[in-house]
Symmetry: D2
Subunit: 359 residues, 4 copies
């Protein structure tokens, strides 16, 4: 209801403000008996954490995971799992000066109006910092999916105007982390990195596109009508700060195709139905058909920039703003594990939901 | 859980198969005292119904609305509103021949695998016919929104490769229904209509793009983190059959912009905060900021075509398929009221959810 | 949210007012492939329907079940099942005189205040007539439970001050319907029936107690903390009009026992854990332990009586009321299938919820 | 779904095991702007905490509240409030010996069977320790209710066979805490205390009854059919460990009354509708009518006793058990704030839910 939960069976509620004591998540509905590899959770958090490279914000958080409940002797109990990540490098005083200023394209004005109060320090609850909790919860979802064989890989496909012009099938999906940008093509990644550093130097910011592929999805995930698999994937991805577009399968380009070109003909391979093409993106009628699921998410440029901007304050006066606080010139590299986490949360939930599809 | 409900407070559950007795919806959570203008509900159903023009399927349904409960002496009671639309021109025998065939890019195979059983007649629950129930429920949501001043307009922006190259602000939004295609530009609409008729004659189908604008949205609708307004709008739109892409505000194009170009500077107009540009699409931090909300939805071409296609049957044999049944060469004109309805369901729900944001 | 739904996976939403067009239910989440025996649904409705004997209200409804969706060739599709029961003997004009009167111990005043409007005809949504929808939905839950071996039997244990002083284990649970009162003891049932007829003649009404037993419950149904099995059973039973008390296992009497008397010692029988006594009522820590579950529900006397009563009208004036409309002098006999239905809805839901307790 | 959440708008999810690192709660949906008096939360926790007097368990926990999020400068932000209570006096090693033993009338056997794993230390998640989280969350609900004037008072009415034979209206509700037993009658409280100490010395335990009164409830709280106010109150109270019975208003005794005795005649007092009697317990048709709401909850005797008992172990062998661990001879005194907390959670939720009853 109040917007901080996701999932029906594998249900995650996150909490925490950017410069409060901690951010965290409670997972209710993770099946019992799942082995919890804490190092994997930490690994995903490390991929998201600030300060990891020259192209990210310099806020310095270890983002160490603490599991407060629900895990006993290394396994899930079937009871709620509370995951806690302390905020250690919060510098709220840096935001004091912006206390009464509504930053352009930020949530300051909307939070203030909706709630009549806001934690102005670094955006409070609207900060991308809260995605750390989603990444931690998503890592547990990924551990659950691993048991089923499902595997999710996201990578950076575009930064500003620099684009990787390859399909996911032409890429080594294991090499995503071999570049700082998380684009699995060394040359393009190098161009992107240079563009990020150049833009940062200008006090400006960049957006981009992340692509994501899910392999080995069993047939049958997704529910009719409103909870179609693509609908909940889209919702999950749009819940990530800065996402302005989502397309799966043939996407926007598919709307210019004809049915005879677009339809994915079925054939049999070793006794299993396959489709010759996959414009459906692995989903038909809202339900997975066993082919790869793939989608793209468009991110707007980071709203926080160092360049001077005109805006208003809470008294309704026009003011000039030179942003304080640490921030990313381009969030894409750090958003890769977030996209994977949100995807995992949806798939884990639909996997469990599917257990009661038949008598 | 089983995917046939949407909304938290204004909660809609739909039911019905394409060639069963009826389709319908139950709305639980519509506030009491709302005047119900049945003719408006019928009007929206008429805009969606089959057989309305030469460019739509020739299935002949009156789609007459029946309100079975929840309305008394013309006003809502605060109790569940059951809306029923009988299926009168169902011709299930036409589908008998396709009983064991999995049509390409349809839900036959995924439903059969997920449930172990399916109503093969016209796609059963996976048919776009079930959107009639959403349109009826959405009409009641629109009546609720009307009281608040909010107004939703969708229109066809692209059919196949023919595109209307205007922004919504350059268009007379009241003229959408003046063309059969529901594109508010007579010349472009004429081209679209010709393209549809030509494609129909070829036994093929088209996709396209619908654009939607919401005006007079109060500040504060949307919830933090997972239930951001754009996230639930995206989910609602992706729940419509054939949608493969969604973008709002600057969308995919915005990912190539710089922060300094993209940020929407605040200014005051008659004492009210406005933004000079609106790349945010009326939503900041997941919450409406009072500016227009606008988005685009990409539809793939209709999967049902008359051209011969190769596919498999339920025995896993390769077969040739020449589609039976009546269908639309392009769903876009009829999808306009569906997009409006899904949008209204989301806004009505968030409007009610916002009532407890403050003490 | 608005109170007309029950269940998480096996989710039922009911609709309809007492003197509107129909009452009904939508079940979303019934697994696919369940054989639907319509005659069983009708049988349960017949046990609840008015006019079935000299001791019930004389309203004459056939309460014929219509299945509008979700069932195909006799089996569930996994899609929503819409169940409809038309109101055929509605006599709303009989209620015209009571339009502005708040009947004592009825919901007239509370509905009017909460909603600012009410359907005054026979209590509208607050009427016990709406339990017909629950009984129909509960019958489908019972068909699902049958597959698992679970079996529910309710019977009348007390009417007014006449009480059956036997435990359920001393009773032939198959003989409940052998008396009009649904008390499985001919002599006590005869006394109850006479008391009901005598009270009816006086223009007065009676309450009573229903007892219910559930056999063959698998170990593991129920969830920790808030959704304990007894908690959801209690909620479901308290949702029945007129219920004022619920106890399971040792109940209120158990609060006067000592731990050493009350504890149910475990022992093994044919390799399966049993408890020597069953004061726990088959539930420990909120989760079924495989023993019989049993509970009692206390019903207040019917609020509608023919005797003259003083009350107020909507103008706040004191008035005298002589009730119009048909009503039961004692609802207990007809409440037996309602208790069974509500119990079945809870168990079916928890049965499905338990499918994801382990990896 | 997994049973650890309660509420629709004011939604609370608790987490934690008895001898894990911490127990806690996340509240999502508390309106923004509520002043948080931490000392009140602590006060309620202190009333529940172990070791508070000679008649409670000697486990020594400070139960200090930590608010990790959602509160800023003393006020709620409208974002999730995470409440944490560390476990400091956990002595898990004391339970090592009982690792493989299923204690009678405990949840050991049912948890082990349901989940295939359990935290055997002090009952893990099934321990009454987890109610600390509910009490903390309930305290915030009480702060919200305070703004509306609503007030909840619970007290001990019966311990074992010793009963306070007074109605709540004959009692000074402000004096509950003046006795260790929390029975607001010094003489009866003294008898209860002696009975508890005597029973403790015998290595045995006692149950009892708690009574609860809610004053100044606005008209209109509660929802039709399934979410009747009494239904959700019953559910909330049955979620408390050891509760075996619940009755409100006339309760079980009311089932022996006649309608003409039981009906609560309306009258006007200072322009406001009142009822002369209040057998309805302040609720009619599932919705509050403005009169006092009152109910009783029956608690079974504590399952943990020091007396030797026969039981089985996880290998299915019969064994003798002499309970280890610290425990209460009678939970009633400490259950008083728990009953108040659960009641507050329900009322706060229904209060917010009622905000959208009318347009």
């Amino acid at each position: 209801m109040a917007g901080n939960s996701i999932g029906e069976i594998f249900k995650v509620t996150t909490f925490g403000e950017s410069h409060g004591l901690a951010v965290g998540a409670v997972i209710d509905g993770c099946p019992a008996g799942l082995e919890i590899d804490e190092s994997f959770i930490q690994h995903q958090l490390d991929r998201r954490k600030p300060g990891q490279s020259v192209i990210t914000t310099q806020r310095n958080e270890s983002d160490t995971i603490h599991i407060l409940s629900g895990v006993f002797e290394g396994k899930t109990l079937g009871t709620p799992i509370c995951l806690l990540i302390n905020n250690t490098d919060a510098k709220p005083q840096e935001y004091e000066a912006m206390k009464n200023i509504f930053r352009p394209s930020h949530a300051d004005y909307t939070y203030e109006t909706k709630y009549g109060i806001r934690d102005y320090r670094g955006g409070g609850r609207s900060s991308a910092r809260v995605t750390a909790a989603s990444v931690a919860a998503g890592a547990i979802a990924q551990l659950l999916l691993k048991q089923t064989g499902m595997h999710i890989t996201a990578y950076v496909q575009q930064v500003g105007k620099i684009k990787l012009n390859k399909k996911y099938s032409e890429i080594d999906l294991n090499s995503v982390d071999s570049t700082l940008v998380r684009c699995p093509d060394e040359i393009v990644a190098q161009q992107m990195q240079e563009e990020i550093l150049k833009t940062k130097a200008e006090g400006d910011s960049l957006g981009g596109i992340i692509h994501c592929v899910i392999k080995n999805v069993p047939v049958g995930l997704g529910e009719p009508v409103f909870d179609k698999l693509q609908a909940d994937l889209a919702k999950a991805i749009f819940s990530i700060n800065a996402v302005h577009g989502f397309e799966y399968g043939s996407g926007f380009a598919g709307s210019a195709m004809k049915g005879s070109e677009h339809n994915d003909a079925f054939e049999m391979k070793l006794g299993i139905p396959y489709t010759k093409s996959n414009f459906s993106g692995g989903i038909q009628g809202g339900i997975s058909n066993g082919m790869d699921i793939y989608f793209s998410a468009a991110f707007k440029p980071t709203a926080t920039i160092s360049k001077e901007q005109s805006t208003i304050n809470s008294e309704g006066e026009e003011v000039l703003l030179e942003a304080k606080g640490r921030h990313d010139p381009c969030v894409l590299p750090r958003a890769v594990p977030i996209v994977e986490a949100m995807t995992a949360l949806v798939l884990a939930d639909f996997y469990l939901r599917n257990k009661s599809s038949k008598t």
